[in-house]
C-alpha cells in the first residue's frame, strides 16, 4: 500500500468517525506531526481524550523513568491540541478506578450503535479486543469501527488491520508491553559505561597536594610510564591553571597552578580518565600528567577550535557582520548539536554543571566543543563553579564546591542556554525595570507572553520579535522552564528539547514557511535579529505594504519618549500588535474555514504554530483540563458541538482586530473610548472649565436674560457653548500625549470636536446642536485618524488603555 492511500484512509477515517485516543498513541513521537498534518479535520472533529489518559501521563511524569520525555511531550501536545479545539478531554468519576484502555472499551460499546468510531492506539491488546468484539457481532450495528496507529518503521499513522489478515495483512509485530519507546531515544550514539550515581560528595576534596617541581618552567610533564610530554606554548591562563600546546600534536595539556592542586582534583581526573569518550565535541580528559616526582599536575585533553559562544552568537550585532550567512536555521542546528552533547553526557551520568557561553566553542553550526571538562560533575565530585545567569533559582548563591547538582538544575541551565541561542545573547529574565541577573532569576519574572497568558516588561526591540518567531511548542517549553507558575515542577527533559528543536528545524527548512529581509512577510523570519513581529496569514493584522518596520517603530517610539514619561515598564499587551495577541482558536478557525477549500488552520499547523486561544469559551479547556482539575463530566459522545449560542460563537470567534477593523464599528465605538479616556485624564481641567463656564453663564444670564434663554437661546449662546466644547477639544489635544498608540489621535479627535461644535452651533444657533456637532466632529476626526493610520492601529488603540 502506498503512503498516499494510507494517508487518505486515515484522513477519511478521521473525517467520518468519532475519534478516541489512547495513552500510548499520544506518547509516540509522531503525534505532534499527526496534529499538524490533520489539523483541519481535527479542528472540526476533535479527538476525545479520556481524562484517565491525562492521569496516566501525569503518573509516568511523576515516576520519571525512561518514558518521562515521551510523557512530557504528550502532555504538551495534548495541551496545545485542547486549547486549539483539536481535542477534548472527557471523563467521569467512575473512570478513576480503571485504566484508559477500559474506559475506551466501555465508550466504544456504549456508542458504536450511533456512531462510527476510530480508536487511536499503538496497543495491540486494545486493537485485538476491538476487532474481536466487532467480529463476534456483539455490536448489532453497521457502523464502522477502526483502529489507527503509528507504523513502527516509518512512524506515520495508518489504519491498523486486524491480526487475522482480514482487510490487509497485519504489520510486523511489536510488543505492546512495555510501551514502545520513541525511536529518537533509541537511535543515539553509544556512550561509555555510565558513571555511578552518587548522593554524597567525595571527601578530601580540598586536601592540598604538595608539588615542588616548577613544571611550567621545566616545560615537561609525564604520562604514565614516564613518557614525557613537552609543554610547547602557553595558550591561556586562568584562575585554576594554564593550558599548553604540547609536542603531542592534537593534544593540549592543562597544568593546575600549584596552589590549586588537591587530592580531589587528582581523584576526579583519575576517575574521568577511566572512560574513553569517543566524541570529538567533548574535550574529555584523556590521561593525567605528573611531574618529575610523580605528583599529579594536570591532564592531557584533545584540542578544540572555534570561538566561544559568548564571543560569537551572543553578541549578535557583531556575529551578524562576521557570519552574514548565519540564519535562524543555523542557530537551531547549533541548539540541536549542543543538546546532543548534553544528552550524551547525561547518559554517562555526567552533568556539565557550569553550562555557560564561554565553555562552548563553536566552529560552525554542526561543530561544537565543550571545553573546561574537568569542571563537570562526576559521581561525588561536584562542579565547583557556576555562572549566576545559568543557575536555577532554587540554588542561587549556594557554594558549588560543596553541593552536588541535580539533573533538574542542569535542565534549567540548558534551557537558559537554548533561550540565549534563539534570542541571541538575551537572558530569559532580562526585563524592563529589572535588576541584575541573579536577582532577576530569583524573582522568576519571565516577561514573554504565551498566547492567552500575557506578561509584562519584555525587553524592547529585537527580543520581542525573536520570541514571536518561535513555534508555539517551543514557547510553551520556555514558559515551563522559566515561568513562576511552573516553579517546583519537573523541567523540560533534554530529549524533549531535542524533539522540539528538530521539529522547528524541519519547519524552517521548508522554504515556503520562511523568508529573509527587513520587509515583513508571512512566516518565520530567518534573520537571527528579526525586525518585525511574526505575521500569520489571515490572522491578526495584515501584512503592511510599506512604511517602517516594527523595529524602526520601537526605536522611534523609545527615542521620542522622555525618560520621565516612561518610568513604568510598559505592558507587552500595550505594545504588541494584534497579530501576537490572543485571537481565535485554531479549532474555530478551522470550523469557519470553507469546506473543501485550503484551510488556513491546516497551514498554521503545518508551520508548527499553535495559535493561542483567547475567547471566553476556550480557557476553561486549557490548563485546567490538563491538570484534571475541572473536567467536564460525562463520557457521552456528542454529535453536536458544545452548546453555545451562535451569537456567542460568532462573537468569540472575532478577534479584536476583526472587530475594530470595521470602520462603522470604529466610528460608533471609538468616540466613546476617546471621550472616556480624555475625560479621565482631564477631569480636573473639565471641572475648572465647568466652574468658569457656569460662572460666566450666571453673570451673562443676570445681564441678558433668563436661564432658559441661556440654555436654548440665540446665536451668541450657541457659539459660546460651542467654544466651551472647543476648549474641551483643546484638553483632548493636550492629552494627546497620553495615548500609548499614537500621539495624534486626540489632536485629531479634539480639533474635530471643536470645529464641529462651533460650526454647527453657529449654523443652527443653539447650544444643543453644538453638542451634536461636537460628537460628529469627534467621530470625523477619529475616522480621519483611522484612515491615516490603518486598521491595525485602530485595533491596537481600542485594546490599549493609557493606564495599561
Amino acid at each position: 500500500m502506498t503512503q498516499t492511500t494510507k494517508a487518505d484512509r486515515v484522513l477519511e477515517a478521521l473525517k467520518t468517525h468519532k475519534i478516541l485516543g489512547d495513552t500510548c498513541f499520544f506518547m509516540d513521537r509522531g503525534f505532534t506531526r499527526f496534529l499538524s498534518d490533520y489539523a483541519e479535520v481535527l479542528g472540526c472533529n476533535p479527538i476525545l481524550i479520556p481524562k484517565k489518559v491525562i492521569q496516566e501521563l501525569k503518573r509516568i511524569e511523576k515516576l520519571g523513568d525512561h518514558r518521562l520525555p515521551a510523557a512530557q511531550g504528550a502532555l504538551a501536545s495534548i495541551h496545545a491540541a485542547v486549547s486549539d479545539g483539536m481535542a477534548e478531554v472527557r471523563g467521569e468519576a467512575s473512570d478513576d478506578h480503571t485504566v484508559a484502555d477500559n474506559v475506551i472499551s466501555r465508550v466504544v460499546e456504549q456508542h458504536i450503535v450511533q456512531h462510527n468510531i476510530v480508536v487511536l492506539t499503538n496497543d495491540r491488546k486494545l486493537r485485538d479486543w476491538i476487532y474481536a468484539k466487532k467480529r463476534s457481532g456483539c455490536f448489532s450495528t453497521k457502523n464502522s469501527l477502526l483502529v489507527i496507529r503509528f507504523g513502527p518503521q516509518r512512524g506515520t499513522p495508518h489504519v491498523w488491520a486486524p491480526a487475522d489478515g482480514s482487510g490487509g495483512g497485519a504489520p510486523p509485530v511489536r510488543s505492546a508491553h512495555p510501551r514502545p519507546r520513541p525511536s529518537h531515544i533509541i537511535k543515539r550514539p553509544n556512550v561509555p559505561q555510565p558513571f555511578a550515581r552518587s548522593k554524597s560528595i567525595a571527601s578530601n576534596l580540598d586536601t592540598p597536594l604538595h608539588a615542588k617541581d616548577d613544571v611550567e618552567k621545566a616545560g615537561v610533564v609525564y604520562l604514565s610510564g614516564r613518557r614525557p610530554v613537552r609543554l610547547v606554548k602557553k595558550l591561556a591562563s586562568g584562575g585554576e591553571g594554564a593550558v599548553y600546546e604540547t609536542d603531542q600534536g592534537a593534544f593540549l595539556c592543562k597544568v593546575y597552578h600549584s596552589n590549586r592542586l588537591t587530592i580531589g582534583a587528582q581523584q576526579k581526573i583519575e576517575l574521568m580518565t577511566t572512560r574513553t569518550v569517543a566524541n570529538s565535541a567533548i574535550c574529555w580528559p584523556l590521561e593525567p600528567v605528573v611531574d618529575g616526582h610523580g605528583v599529579f599536575r594536570g591532564f592531557l585533553m584533545p584540542r578544540a577550535s572555534g570561538e566561544p559562544l559568548g564571543h560569537g552568537l551572543f553578541i549578535p550585532t557583531v556575529w551578524r557582520a562576521k557570519r552574514p550567512d548565519w540564519t535562524r536555521r543555523e542557530s537551531v542546528q547549533l541548539a540541536v548539536r549542543v543538546l546532543e552533547q548534553i544528552d550524551y553526557l547525561h547518559r554517562m551520568r555526567v552533568l556539565v554543571g557550569d553550562i555557560n557561553p564561554m565553555n562552548i566553542l563553536v566552529r560552525d553550526e554542526r561543530t561544537v566543543f565543550f571545553v573546561d571538562c574537568d569542571s563537570f560533575q562526576v559521581e561525588g565530585f561536584p562542579c565547583p563553579v557556576g555562572s549566576p545567569n545559568f543557575v536555577a533559582p532554587e540554588i542561587q548563591g549556594v557554594d558549588f564546591g560543596r553541593t552536588l547538582r541535580t539533573e533538574e538544575h542542569e535542565l534549567f541551565a540548558a534551557a537558559t542556554l537554548l533561550f540565549m541561542i534563539m534570542m541571541p545573547g538575551k537572558c530569559p529574565y532580562s526585563h524592563q525595570g529589572g535588576g541584575d541577573g541573579a536577582a532577576n532569576i530569583c524573582k522568576m519574572h519571565f516577561p514573554y507572553p504565551l498566547g492567552e497568558k500575557g506578561s509584562t516588561g519584555a525587553p524592547e526591540g529585537a527580543w520581542r520579535f525573536c520570541w514571536s518567531h518561535l513555534t508555539r511548542p517551543l514557547k510553551e517549553a520556555f514558559h515551563r522552564s522559566f515561568h513562576k507558575d511552573f516553579e517546583g515542577q519537573p523541567r523540560i527533559a533534554i530529549v524533549t528539547w531535542l524533539h522540539l528543536f528538530r521539529e522547528y528545524a524541519r519547519i524552517l527548512n521548508k522554504d515556503s514557511e520562511v523568508f529573509v529581509g527587513p520587509r515583513p512577510q508571512y512566516g518565520f523570519d530567518l534573520s537571527i535579529l528579526p525586525q518585525n513581529f511574526r505575521y500569520i496569514q489571515g490572522k491578526g493584522r495584515p501584512l503592511p505594504t510599506g512604511g517602517e518596520t516594527d523595529l524602526q517603530r520601537s526605536v522611534r517610539r523609545m527615542s521620542t519618549a522622555t525618560s520621565g514619561r516612561r518610568k513604568q515598564p510598559t505592558s507587552i499587551h500595550g505594545t504588541m500588535p494584534a497579530a501576537t495577541k490572543p485571537s481565535t482558536t485554531l479549532g474555530q478557525a478551522a470550523r469557519r474555514a470553507p469546506k473543501g477549500g485550503v484551510s488556513v488552520a491546516g497551514r498554521y499547523y503545518a508551520a508548527g504554530q499553535y495559535l493561542p486561544p483567547a475567547s471566553a469559551a476556550q480557557p476553561a479547556q486549557s490548563q485546567s483540563n490538563i491538570s484534571g482539575a475541572s473536567l467536564p463530566s460525562g463520557a457521552g459522545l456528542q454529535t453536536q458541538p458544545p452548546p453555545q449560542s451562535t451569537i456567542h460563537t460568532w462573537l468569540t470567534s472575532l478577534s479584536a482586530a476583526d472587530w475594530y477593523a470595521n470602520p462603522v464599528v470604529w466610528a460608533l465605538v471609538a468616540p466613546f473610548k476617546a471621550l472616556l479616556e480624555v475625560l479621565g485624564i482631564t477631569a480636573i481641567g473639565g471641572i475648572i472649565g465647568a466652574v468658569i463656564l457656569g460662572a460666566a453663564g450666571l453673570i451673562m444670564g443676570a445681564f441678558f436674560g433668563s436661564a432658559q434663554q441661556f440654555m436654548f437661546g440665540g446665536l451668541t449662546w450657541g457659539g459660546m457653548i460651542g467654544g466651551g466644547l472647543g476648549a474641551l477639544g483643546g484638553f483632548g489635544a493636550a492629552g494627546g500625549s497620553i495615548s500609548k498608540v499614537d500621539d495624534r489621535i486626540y489632536s485629531a479627535g479634539g480639533f474635530g470636536a471643536a470645529a464641529g461644535a462651533v460650526a454647527i452651533a453657529l449654523i443652527a444657533g443653539s447650544a444643543w446642536w453644538g453638542f451634536l456637532g461636537a460628537w460628529l466632529g469627534l467621530t470625523g476626526g477619529l475616522l480621519a485618524w483611522r484612515i491615516a493610520t490603518g486598521e491595525q492601529k485602530a485595533a491596537e488603540y481600542m485594546t490599549t488603555w493609557w493606564t495599561s
Partner: protein
C-alpha cells in the same frame, strides 16, 4: 540631543543583548591642564577606548560618556555603544575655572538618564562607574559639595563605583575625598595617564566578563605600579 544620535543610542539598546557597564569619565580641562598634561590625558583616553574595543565582550558591554569641565561642564561624548566611536574626541583646555561640581553633576545626570533608558528597554547593567580626574581646586565649591553628596549617596546604595583621581601635587585631595566614602582618592603621580587608563580598562573588561550581581574583587593592588593610595 541630535535626533540621529538619539536613534542610534536607542537602537543599541534594542539589538545588543550584552549586560552594560556604563562609565562616565569626568575630566578636568581647565587652564592648568593645558599643554603636556592635556596631551597625556588625551592619549590616556585613547588607550582606554582602544583597550575596550580590543576585547569582544567589553566592546559590546562598556558604554563611555566623556564630560569635561573648565569654565563650564560639557558633554564631549554621550553614552552609546563603543563600536560607534572609532576614536574619542581630542580635548583641549578651555578656560581658567574648574567647575568640578557642575562636571560631576552633569556626568551623574547622564548616568541617570542612561540607566532609565536601560530600564525602559529591559537591558541589564552593572554598577555604573564615575571616573573623576582633576589637578586643581574646584572653583564651584558649593556645587562640588552637593555633587559630592550625590555621588556618596549613590555609592552608599551600591549604585555607583567612584574612582576619584588627583592629578599631580596641586590636586585638592580633600575636595576629591568628598566624592567617595568608601575609599580615599587616588593620586596620580607624574603624568602616567596611560598606565592609569590601562588599569581602568582592565578593570572594565573584568567587570564586563563577570555576571550581573557577581561580587567583584577590586583590583586595587594593580594601582601600585603607577600611583599611591594616599
Amino acid at each position: 540631543m541630535a535626533r540621529e544620535l538619539m536613534l542610534v543610542r536607542t537602537e543599541d539598546l534594542l539589538l545588543n543583548p550584552t549586560n552594560r557597564v556604563p562609565i562616565a569619565l569626568c575630566l578636568d580641562a581647565s587652564g592648568s591642564m593645558a599643554g603636556a598634561p592635556m596631551d597625556e590625558l588625551n592619549q590616556g583616553v585613547r588607550v582606554f577606548f582602544d583597550a575596550l574595543q580590543a576585547d569582544p565582550i567589553a566592546k559590546a558591554s562598556a558604554e563611555v560618556a566623556l564630560v569635561t569641565f573648565a569654565d563650564r561642564a560639557e558633554t564631549a561624548v554621550d553614552f552609546q555603544g563603543l563600536e560607534r566611536i572609532s576614536q574619542p574626541p581630542v580635548m583641549t583646555s578651555t578656560g581658567g575655572l574648574t567647575s568640578l561640581g557642575e562636571g560631576v553633576n552633569l556626568a551623574l545626570d547622564l548616568l541617570e538618564t542612561r540607566k532609565d533608558e536601560y530600564q525602559n528597554a529591559g537591558v541589564d547593567y552593572f554598577q555604573p562607574w564615575l571616573v573623576l580626574m582633576t589637578d586643581a581646586q574646584p572653583t564651584d565649591i558649593s556645587n562640588a559639595q552637593q555633587a559630592g553628596q550625590r555621588a556618596c549617596d549613590m555609592e552608599g546604595q551600591g549604585k555607583l563605583v567612584v574612582i576619584n583621581i588627583g592629578i599631580g601635587t596641586s590636586a585638592d585631595m580633600n575636595t576629591l575625598a568628598m566624592f567617595s566614602k568608601k575609599h580615599k582618592p587616588f593620586s596620580l603621580q607624574g603624568l602616567k595617564f596611560r598606565e592609569c587608563f590601562q588599569w581602568l580598562s582592565k578593570s572594565v573588561i573584568r567587570v564586563s566578563q563577570s555576571r550581573p550581581g557577581e561580587k567583584m574583587d577590586w583590583d586595587y593592588k594593580g594601582i601600585k605600579g603607577w600611583g599611591t593610595l594616599d
